[in-house]
């Protein structure tokens, strides 16, 4: 279980994340929603310590990961994979090597640095690519792939870490609706198939409704909503998105209020 206890991050007078307390059960698929600048990214980045908290603690199965350092921190990041909005692949390396980066936590430096990955690791990486229909691109350079394909490579990289939890920071914000669906489906599949906990930042209410079993809403760094997606009424969404509400609500709460993705994703439907 992931426990976040009084977690804060201040930048000068700005409270990017302000005293957030939250616990997430294993195997859950939880969406974090809110307008841009609400602190969703900072919250996720504090969980794997790419950003250091100003105050508060993060625990995983009772271990205080916010106190880890050195190899303990590397091991935690190995168990807690991350998917980024901009994919964060190594453009000049091929797709298979990019997936194998996920094996760094399992590989000694003297084998990893000259890219002498074991056969078992390479088979594992290739199998992950096959699972997400990327096997034909294994030898392509990562930056030759489309955005949707690159994000699926990033998911493969996360998968071969053999993580217990995956943090996805706006994984579909740079993608068109069709690719967004493919990537979200992949995350949902991993969640169901391997029981990996998924915590995903989403801007779109519609996606949150379609995929998440539980939705957490943030505004101005604070937790303002926590519950089932059905409980997210128009009033609650309006409070969550403030000035941006009309953009989100017109598209999401209008004709598609029943949760259908048909109007948002004509190509996928």
């Amino acid at each position: 279980m992931l426990e976040i206890d009084g977690l804060s991050r201040h930048y000068g007078d700005v409270r990017a994340v302000d005293n957030v307390t939250l616990s997430i059960e294993k195997g859950a698929f939880v969406g974090v929603i809110g307008r841009s600048g609400a602190g969703k990214s900072t919250l996720l980045r504090m969980i794997n310590r790419l950003t250091e908290p100003t105050a508060g603690a993060v625990r995983w199965d009772g271990t205080a990961v916010s106190a880890l350092g050195g190899s303990g921190l590397h091991q935690w990041r190995r168990r807690c994979a991350m998917i980024f909005q901009q994919f964060n692949l190594i453009g000049r390396l091929d797709v298979l090597d990019n997936v194998l980066i996920g094996r760094l936590g399992h590989t000694s430096a003297w084998r990893a640095f000259p890219r002498l990955w074991s056969r078992a690791d390479r088979e594992m990486a290739f199998s992950a690519l096959e699972m997400l229909d990327l096997a034909p691109f294994a030898s392509n350079r990562a930056d030759d792939l489309s955005g949707g394909q690159q994000q699926r490579v990033a998911i493969c990289r996360a998968l071969v870490q053999e993580p217990e939890i995956i943090l996805a920071d706006e994984p579909v914000a740079s993608l068109d609706p069709r690719n967004a669906k493919v990537v979200m489906d992949a995350l949902a599949r991993i969640n169901r198939h391997f029981g990996i906990t998924v915590l995903v930042n989403l801007h779109s209410l519609d996606l949150a409704r379609a995929y998440c079993g539980r939705v957490v809403g943030m505004a101005q760094g604070r937790l303002v909503f926590d519950g089932a997606p059905d409980a997210l009424t128009e009033a609650a969404a309006r409070e969550l998105y403030g000035m941006e509400a009309h953009e989100v609500l017109d598209a999401d709460l209008g004709p598609t209020i029943g949760g259908s993705l048909a109007s948002a994703m004509p190509a996928a439907a």
């Binding site: 980024f84 994919f87 964060n88 000049r92 980066i101 760094l104 936590g105 350079r141």
Partner: protein, 274 residues
């Protein structure tokens, strides 16, 4: 025009010292410096004009370029090989040593202002000493010959390359680095996989460019006794063997053109492949 627009009501900006002064002053200073140089060095245009005829004579004497005998040609070929070896050895030594220095001087690797400032100033200072001066120093340390030449090139380019690398490292995209760190990689792994693939093309193309440019430098430092074909060139000019001198110049030209062609191919392969 005068009929179309009404007379202006406000105050027209005046022409004057403030608007035109700095420009005229700058041109005046440049002309003054040039005249001072000519007077100070006692340069007479007449000497240049009469010398022009002499330059024509020398050009005529250079034709046709020829090594005179086959054995001389083989000697020059051997010396040219030495010059190329000096250039390649000196540049690769500089490049290998410059890489760690470049990381040390890169602000995103060593986030310490004092280290950053000191390493940058040090690189700038050492960088300003020319290859020829390094050659004269190393000749006194290790004696005449190609060893001094290779050392001179290595010392002169070490800091220039280190500065180039550190700038390439600083402009590298941060996102792959975060990708590696978030996968459980160490800081060393984030540099190896996040930064090195990004700077590798810069590294290779700069090293190739420096090898090409250093083939010319190695010729020059040969003249002061640091090995290679330069010594033969200065000797032939000294004894007025103009045909042989021009032949040596053509040999250096051909060697540089060859290196240029090879490095262009390697660069292109680097850009498309990985």
């Amino acid at each position: 025009m005068s009929g179309m627009l009404p007379a202006p009501q406000g105050r027209l900006p005046e022409y004057g010292w403030r608007s035109h002064g700095p420009g005229f002053l700058g041109i005046g200073i440049a002309v003054g410096l040039f005249v001072f140089g000519v007077v100070r060095l006692d340069l007479a245009p007449a000497r240049f004009l009469s010398g022009l005829a002499r330059l024509g004579d020398i050009m005529a004497l250079m034709m046709p370029p020829s090594p005179e005998t086959w054995s001389r040609f083989l000697v020059y070929l051997d010396a040219l090989g030495q010059t190329l070896a000096i250039a390649v050895l000196g540049t690769t030594t500089a490049a290998v040593l410059a890489l760690p220095l470049g990381f040390l001087a890169a602000h995103n690797i060593i986030a310490n202002n004092a280290v950053h400032f000191l390493s940058r100033r040090l690189l700038d200072t050492v960088r300003s000493v020319d290859t020829l001066i390094w050659a004269l120093i190393w000749i006194n340390v290790v004696g005449l010959g190609p060893f001094a030449g290779a050392l001179a090139i290595a010392s002169a380019d070490l800091c220039a390359l280190a500065k180039l690398f550190s700038e390439a490292i600083e402009t590298a995209d941060r996102r792959p680095v975060e990708g590696v760190l978030a996968s459980g990689g160490s800081r060393a792994a984030s540099v190896r996989f996040g930064i090195v693939p990004q700077i590798l093309p810069v590294f290779v193309s700069q090293v190739l460019y420096y090898i090409e440019s250093n083939t010319r430098s190695a010729t020059i430092i040969g003249i002061v006794g640091a090995g290679g074909i330069g010594l033969h060139l200065s000797e032939m000019i000294r004894v007025l063997e103009w045909q042989q001198a021009s032949f040596i110049i053509l040999m250096v030209l051909a060697a540089v053109a060859m290196i240029d062609a090879i490095s262009r191919r390697v660069r292109r392969a680097m850009m498309s492949g990985r």
